[in-house]
């Protein structure tokens, strides 16, 4: 499994027919021994087939989060079908507002990149929608995706991409899995672009590799408080000194003496903001 300092993308899809094109494109392998959900993976990508509806989706996201090491600020991308009264079948949309039709709760996903498809409001419903009463997309998972995945990642990294599968001319009961797969296949460029844009954003907020305090804590004893001070001082050293190695550590009996020495070394470093790499 890639380390926590690398970006990770979780695809959440409700149906096997929606998953097929992504599995084929990324050549994902099914994870053996997972019975609760079908989980596929390959180097920095996972795909979980959640099943239909909010409860299944929430469970799948929680399961995936734990299964892949509780990654902070992973990308969560929900790919699936949705209905709209008149949008053409196969057209692709990204959610800019999501409403849970049952509870009335609303979310506003921040689209911090140049989207390669138009955006729309999604209403997440518990039963398939056939009236299309409002000017929005209807699906059965999006509200659950944002509500659950934003517990684990920042909202800017959690998005829902929807392909139109039904409208007033072609009702929801007529959808067949082969057509769904074709629509998602045809949308693959938008999906790949979106995934890449989000991965790029995620790269800005995943924790950088930190100096390993174990090297220090294995030689000297530090209290919990002292260990926090040690980590902070090592971080300051790395940031101010552009990753240059520390000078030779003096002989010391106690962790406290090491902290005094390290603090002095950090305080002596020149502060040159201009070369900041933030």
């Amino acid at each position: 499994m890639p380390p926590q300092s690398e970006t990770f993308v979780h695809f959440i899809v409700a149906l096997p027919a929606e998953a097929k094109p992504l599995i084929a494109h990324y050549r994902l392998k099914r994870r053996v021994g997972e019975d609760a959900f079908a989980v596929f993976e390959k180097e920095g990508i996972s795909l979980t087939v959640s099943g239909i509806g909010k409860v299944a989706t929430a469970a799948a996201i929680g399961y995936t989060h734990v299964l892949f090491g509780k990654r902070k600020n992973a990308v969560w991308l929900n790919v699936g079908v949705a209905g709209h009264r008149e949008h053409p079948l196969g057209s692709v949309w990204i959610a800019h507002k999501i409403t849970d039709a049952e509870t009335g709760r609303r979310w506003y996903p921040s689209i911090c990149f140049r989207a390669h498809c138009p955006s729309a409001e999604i209403r997440t419903v518990s039963q398939p929608e056939t009236e299309y009463a409002r000017e929005c997309l209807y699906d059965m998972e999006a509200a659950s995706v944002v509500e659950t995945a934003t517990r684990f990642s920042s909202g800017e990294l959690v998005h829902c991409l929807k392909v139109i599968s039904d409208n007033r001319q072609s009702v929801v009961w007529d959808i067949d899995p082969a057509r769904v797969t074709t629509w998602v296949e045809n949308a693959i460029d938008v999906l790949l672009y979106t995934k890449q844009a989000l991965r790029h954003l995620a790269g800005e907020v995943i924790p950088k590799r930190q100096p390993n305090p174990e090297i220090w804590t294995s030689r000297w004893h530090f209290t919990v408080q002292e260990r926090l001070q040690l980590e902070r001082l090592l971080h300051r050293w790395r940031v101010l000194n552009d990753d240059l190695p520390l000078p030779e550590v003096p002989k010391a009996e106690r962790g406290r003496d090491i902290l005094i020495w390290l603090k002095d070394a950090v305080e002596r470093l020149p502060v040159r903001l201009a070369s900041s790499h933030s």
Partner: protein, 330 residues
């Protein structure tokens, strides 16, 4: 510049909103009930949103005008601030807004007339005494002027209210509205300056300090009272050289005799803001520097603070008299 507009349904028909919608015909327009639905949720990252901040157009209902914090002022006994706009077009790494708000989206309150009624009421409490109103506390007063029309609306208002002073605090060079307006003696256009080395490292998306200085000079020549805000002073190892050089340049470009006020403040943040900001930008050297925590605030250690403050104060007082110099410790 702005590709998403969130509009509170209640102000969709407001004339200022109509102007804004016309200005961004390509933007996605998303309706919302209250701006807090978009602005306040916890799972947001200020830094990521800075890539493409949205504009949220809203109505404010209360707390239009608030007392300025103690230690924030330029000579009046009564000091207030108001925020028609939350957040800033610019992206200064030291700015406390990053620590205060969950979101980097701009919130524009379009009911200016309600702010103005409250300003009028407060100013009339003490006839004949100047009351100062600061407009650039939670935003840059002028940077979004082409969209907000803030100065265009508020300057005529203050012209009719001579006991009320307004400070427009800015790093912007958007001074067209001011140059097209007869100067107001009760409006201070206050420019923030840092040395170019610090600006290059920390003040992202801001106009170059030289351009700011030229904008300030044009306004001063036009007759506007100009304020100078050296706040925050930021430490780096050649701080004496770069700050001395900046003070010399600023006071050589502007006429010190006609500078309304100069204020000075060191880099400082409430502890909670500092924690959030250093978490947002863990690789930022500013936050790894010689800082110390005292009384809930993070700033430079006492010795360094005294040294930097004393130096800057002495330098400034070479150019302006003490009665026009103000320490900003809020």
């Amino acid at each position: 510049m702005i590709d998403t507009l969130y509009v509170e349904e209640a102000v969709r028909g407001h004339p200022r909103v109509a102007d804004i919608l016309r200005r961004f015909p390509e933007a996605r327009v998303v309706g919302c009930e209250r701006y807090g639905e978009v602005f306040n949720p916890k799972a947001q990252n200020f830094g990521l949103q800075k890539h493409r901040p949205a504009l949220i157009v809203a109505e404010k209902f209360k707390n239009f005008i608030l007392p300025a914090p103690a230690g924030y002022g330029i000579g009046a006994r009564r000091n207030y601030y108001f925020s028609h706009l939350l957040n800033c077009l610019y992206d200064c790494r030291y700015c406390f807004l990053q620590g205060m708000y969950q979101s980097a989206h701009y919130v524009l309150f379009v009911n200016y007339e309600d702010f103005q009624s409250e300003i009028r009421r407060i100013a009339k409490e003490t006839p004949g005494e100047a009351t100062h109103f600061f407009s650039g506390y939670d935003c840059d007063s002028l940077a979004l002027e082409p969209v907000s029309g803030f100065a265009a609306s508020f300057l005529p208002f203050f012209r009719d209210l001579p006991d009320a002073w307004v400070e427009l605090r800015t790093k912007s060079t958007q001074v067209r509205t001011l140059l097209d307006t007869e100067p107001l003696s009760n409006c201070v256009v206050a420019f923030s300056f840092t040395p170019k080395e610090i600006a290059a490292a920390l003040e992202h998306k801001t106009p170059d300090p030289h351009k700011r200085l030229r904008a300030a000079r044009r306004l001063q020549q036009h007759g506007w009272p100009i304020g100078l805000r050296f706040d925050p002073i930021v430490y780096q190892d050649d701080w004496r050289t770069i700050y001395r050089s900046m003070f010399a340049e600023v006071f050589a470009t502007l006429d010190p005799e006609r500078v309304h006020s100069v204020s000075l403040g060191l880099f400082r943040l409430p502890e909670a803001f500092f924690r959030r900001m250093s978490g947002l930008y863990p690789e930022e050297k500013l936050f790894a520097g010689p800082l110390a925590s005292r009384n809930g605030m993070v700033s430079y250690g006492p010795e360094l603070e005294r040294e930097v403050w004393g130096f800057c104060e002495r330098e400034i007082l070479r150019y302006v008299p003490a009665e026009r110099f103000f320490a900003c410790q809020a």
